[in-house]
Symmetry: none
């Protein structure tokens, strides 16, 4: 692996974007799960299953970006 | 593939932007679906269908950006 | 270690992204735990366990990004 | 120390990310502590202890990023 | 001081991060102090003292980043 190539910077950028998108996206999403659970505790299991649906949707783009990072770094 | 060209950095930037936009956008959107569902649980199915409409709209630009990233990297 | 290579910039980028994603994501998440706890103090232990589930989900991408940073820097 | 190397830019990036993640993350977190305290002033000490737990969790990634910044700069 | 070295870019990045983190973090924090004070005006002095505790915690990382900026620039 030649570290003078520019692919490693691209990998760093893609990993940074994935961390920001996945971290903040999940944080905002799950924060409202906690808020809903504190309002209606009896809905917890239904809210939890929808929350995981949401986590999956949030993670689509960050996971694609991490895959990009691996592809760019591994070359 | 020549890793000394600048296209790979552009691909990394595009992937990072897609991850940030898709992750945070979906996180905020779906968090309010959970908030609405905990307030009016009987509206869940209607809220869910609108949420998916919202997810589709949120993803338009991140998907375009990922497509860009593939085009820029594959050269 | 040759600091003229570009891997160190990539490591800095990945570490910065992890700090932003992990910091803001956890901040937003735990802030709603405090809000829920001040609304229903008797739910505290259940909210706390879900909060830690959320912290784990939030940290997935930042931790991956930190691992990337180490890999890119250590070369 | 040779300031023409690229490690200093990496250090600056990592420090910037730590400042953004730690600052905004803690700001959002502690703002909800104030909101909860103004709603239920008698819960203040319990909220305060959980807030410090949250500050610790928020700071994990920014502190890692600052450590990265020192490592990258000190070389 | 040789302004053609890369340290000045690093200093600019670190200072920018400090401004973003400190500015937004404190803004969110103090906004909830105002919200809490408008809800329970008699709690003002206690909220104010906790707000300053919060400002101190918010500023930890931005101040570290500014110190980094001085170190990187002063070389």
């Amino acid at each position: 692996m030649d570290l003078h190539n520019l692919g490693v910077i691209a990998a760093g950028l893609a990993a940074a974007g994935a961390a920001v998108g996945g971290g903040i996206g999940n944080g905002v999403l799950i924060s409202q799960f906690l808020a809903g659970m504190s309002r209606q505790p009896e809905l917890e299991s239904r809210l939890l299953s929808r929350m995981f649906l949401g986590v999956a949707l949030v993670e689509v783009m960050p996971i694609l970006s991490i895959v990009f990072a691996f592809m760019l770094m591994g070359k």
